[in-house]
Amino acid sequence: MAAQKQKARATKVSKKKPEETRKLVPIFIMGQRYMVPGSLTIQKAMEYAGFQLVRGCGCRGGICGACGTVYRFPDSHRIEVGLACQTVVQPDMYLAQIPFFPANKAVYDIEKLSPTGSDVAKLYPEIFKCIGCNVCTKSCPMDIDVMEYVARAIRGDVAGVAELSFDCVMCGLCAARCPAEEAQYNFAILCRRLYGRHIAPRAKHLAERIREIEKGRFDRPLQNLMQTQHDKMVTLYKEREIEPDMADEDWTPGDARYV
């Protein structure tokens, strides 16, 4: 059955594809020429060409950073970058994936660090080697201003690094191309965690709620719900008060028994 289905799928695809997407274009995967449909992403083009991806493929949705890819065109010296799952092939592109890069990762106890530039510099002293070439920024498939956050790290602006690097997918392309051998994405996550742990104010309501729960404040109401018969549950569900969409933070429900 599986084979039949696969065949059905194959026929469906080849029959129904309108002309323009079947137009094949040449691409060069690690130097080898393949003809692939011009509408595919680099990732799907590699699969079309016959590769079964193990490394260099993850979420297939542009967020996990597994498929960092570098490419170039014949009449240009410029190295361009993209995520293979998000970048559509172009005729004559020469490409290679960089599925892994052996960047330095410091080991630390986030509790024992302070959110200062000096703690970051102690763990990643190489940040000071930045020569300001800006290749990291040019190499970022997420359009992050990497060099700027490196500069902030040098200045000890942990919050700045956290904010600027927030969209980082940790693909490693910046580190792969850095002449100063930095591990930008690794000290960036250190800074984000330092920010989240030590700089951003704690949520007081959260700490209080956790204490209430530990004291057993909701144990009985929950126990009662667990023992409620189906019909009564449906009624409770239908009748529960819904917080209005436009309500402010300080909205309170009419029935405050269980809150």
Binding site: G50, P201, Y258
Partner: protein
């Protein structure tokens, strides 16, 4: 890529009806909702869960007779990747207290807690640490953290209602009661949740919530949680060893019926090897990559339901696999965005769903399953008013430009920055052109049966995350999966560590259960060359595959 000339021509039909639709919307004249009494028919006729011929009763194992999707039954009615007789169990390659199979949110949380409870931990993943659906969750994480307006009581009601009241009450209680604690745990690890200047966590509504309790970190909540957990796992290299690109293929038992580890296959060196463990945590995630009924999926490359197979062969029961979650609006164009989730917020803001003729065919805020069924009906041969895509699929238009006309120019760009930028990259301005969407396979509602300690019916085997069943009943609410993986991941780690401390492994290691399962397949008349677990889906070009004459495939793997 931008819209093709053919699609641009079809968009004209949407543009033609748009002013009138906007006018009606402004006057509050909504498209009539499907009457509640007609919903069952709509679902029965068009929701994928009810489509005849898409499921069959499984012939073997603890759930014999359970009627579920062919794709899952295919996986369960398959032979092992190994010939048990050829695996030398006397040669143990790794020995550990706690073995964790899976490196997503649940596996990472379990690793941290097991380590904190004194265990030596071996965490294995078939891809990289963090390659998981957790990474891809955008929306948020539910927890009743707001005092004075919310509590675990209301969270419990919402979860049960969303799941059609059939969820396991004990699991739901655990989920909602532990939720604030998990938020505190993540906050303390430095997760950058979106906050007000005074530290109050920002929250919003999700589908089916009675209170705004969806916490978020920008629009990449799952990625932020996952990269924080991953960083923390990597900060404990002394006691948490991580093996990447190794896939579990079978559980190992003792002849006294305890779980004692697993057999692994290296995707890089192609070796099989043996891991012996006092406790084993299965955290292998969901199964969107099975492409149930050929649906595209929002899921990760590795979401192939491996753990279901291993647990089932070992005799552990599955539940709630008869329902699968389809999100009504997944992108179906351009090709590189296929399956990508388009948030419900677009419809909330007033965007209509329209067919190839530019006609509205459904109210845009029906419940998820009804909405999905209505879209599928429009694209079905009976109605045939779907919009064909260049890859041979069908979709309908989500008319996002209406939002700017209803709420002022610039609203789309301001309210949906992520999607706006993403589509810009494809050469599509979603404030001017509609999006082409179709329901997409999103979540495995059911899975392996567990109790509120993440224990299974097999001593020494723990299960956490999307692979588990019962927490969400027949339908999960948005924001409860990130919560599920962290709450139950932690619990699994803690209990697996305490089990490892209390119990030593007795008896001989065995794979007899695999042989027994093979015999049961034969007895049930299942003749098949299918092999499971799948490990990775196969997206090879069939034409190339035909020419790979000399290549051996074992299931989907070459």
């Amino acid at each position: 890529m931008p819209y093709t000339p053919e699609l641009q021509k079809l968009i004209k039909a949407v543009e033609k009806t748009r002013p009138a639709r906007v006018e009606r919307k402004k006057k509050g004249q909504e498209f009539p909702a499907i009457p509640v009494d007609d919903r069952p028919d709509m679902l029965k006729n068009y929701h994928p869960d009810f489509k005849p011929g898409t499921r069959r009763k499984i012939k073997v194992g603890p759930n014999r007779g359970y009627d579920i999707s062919h794709e899952i039954v295919d996986l369960l009615e398959a032979r092992s990747r190994i010939d048990p007789k050829r695996i030398d169990l006397s040669r143990v390659d790794y020995e550990t207290d706690v073995l964790i199979i899976g490196g997503g949110g649940a596996g990472s949380a379990a690793a941290l807690l097991a380590q904190e409870n004194g265990a030596r931990v071996l965490l294995t993943t078939k891809l990289r640490l963090g390659d998981a659906n957790t990474m891809m969750a955008e929306g948020g994480i539910q927890a009743a953290t707001k005092r004075g307006k919310d509590s675990p009581y209301f969270h419990y009601l919402d979860v049960m209602g969303g799941g059609h009241f059939v969820n396991d009450p004990k699991l739901v209680r655990t989920l909602v009661r532990e939720a604030p604690g998990v938020m505190g745990w993540l906050e303390k690890m430095g997760t950058m949740f979106s906050k007000y200047p005074d530290g109050t966590l920002k929250t919003m509504h999700g589908g089916g919530t009675s209170r705004k309790r969806m916490h978020y970190a920008g629009d990449i909540t799952g990625a932020e949680i996952m990269r924080t957990l991953r960083d923390e796992v990597r900060n404990r290299p002394e006691n948490i060893k991580v093996l990447e690109y190794v896939a579990a293929v079978e559980l190992i038992l003792t002849d006294t019926g305890q779980c004692a580890g697993a057999v692994f296959y290296s995707l890089e060196t192609r070796e099989f090897f043996v891991v012996k463990a006092k406790s084993t945590v299965l955290a292998t995630g969901g199964s969107g990559r099975l492409h149930i009924q050929d649906f595209m999926t929002t899921n990760h490359y590795g979401a192939t339901g491996d753990g279901l197979v291993m647990a089932y062969r070992a005799g552990v029961k599955l539940n709630f696999l008869h329902t699968v979650q389809y999100h009504p609006t997944g992108a179906v164009f351009p090709e590189q965005a296929e399956g990508l989730l388009i948030t419900e917020k677009f419809r909330g803001a007033g965007a209509n769903l329209v067919n190839i003729k530019g006609e509205q065919f459904v109210y845009e805020r029906e419940p998820r399953d009804v909405e999905a069924a209505a879209i599928i009906r429009e694209c079905s041969p009976d109605v045939a008013r779907g919009v064909p895509t260049p890859t041979g699929k069908f979709g309908v238009w989500l008319d996002s430009p209406m939002i700017d006309m209803l709420k002022g120019p610039g609203t789309v760009r301001k309210e949906f920055p992520g999607k706006h930028i993403l589509f810009r990259r494809y050469g599509i301005d979603i404030s001017k052109d509609p999006m082409l969407i179709h329901p997409t396979l999103h979540y495995q509602n059911g899975g392996v049966e567990i109790n509120d300690k993440c224990e299974t019916s097999m001593p020494g085997l723990y299960v956490a995350g999307e692979i588990a069943g019962g927490i969400h009943g027949e339908n999960r609410l948005m924001g409860n999966s990130l919560l599920d993986v962290t709450v139950f991941g932690k619990i699994a780690g803690e209990h697996a560590a305490s089990h490892a401390r209390r119990r030593s492994l007795r008896g001989k290691l065995t794979l007899e259960h695999v042989q027994r399962y093979h015999r049961a397949l034969t007895r049930a008349g299942v003749k098949t060359d299918r092999i499971a677990p799948m490990i990775l889906p196969d997206y090879s070009n069939p034409e190339v595959k035909e020419r790979q004459l000399t290549t051996d495939y074992q299931g989907t793997l070459r």
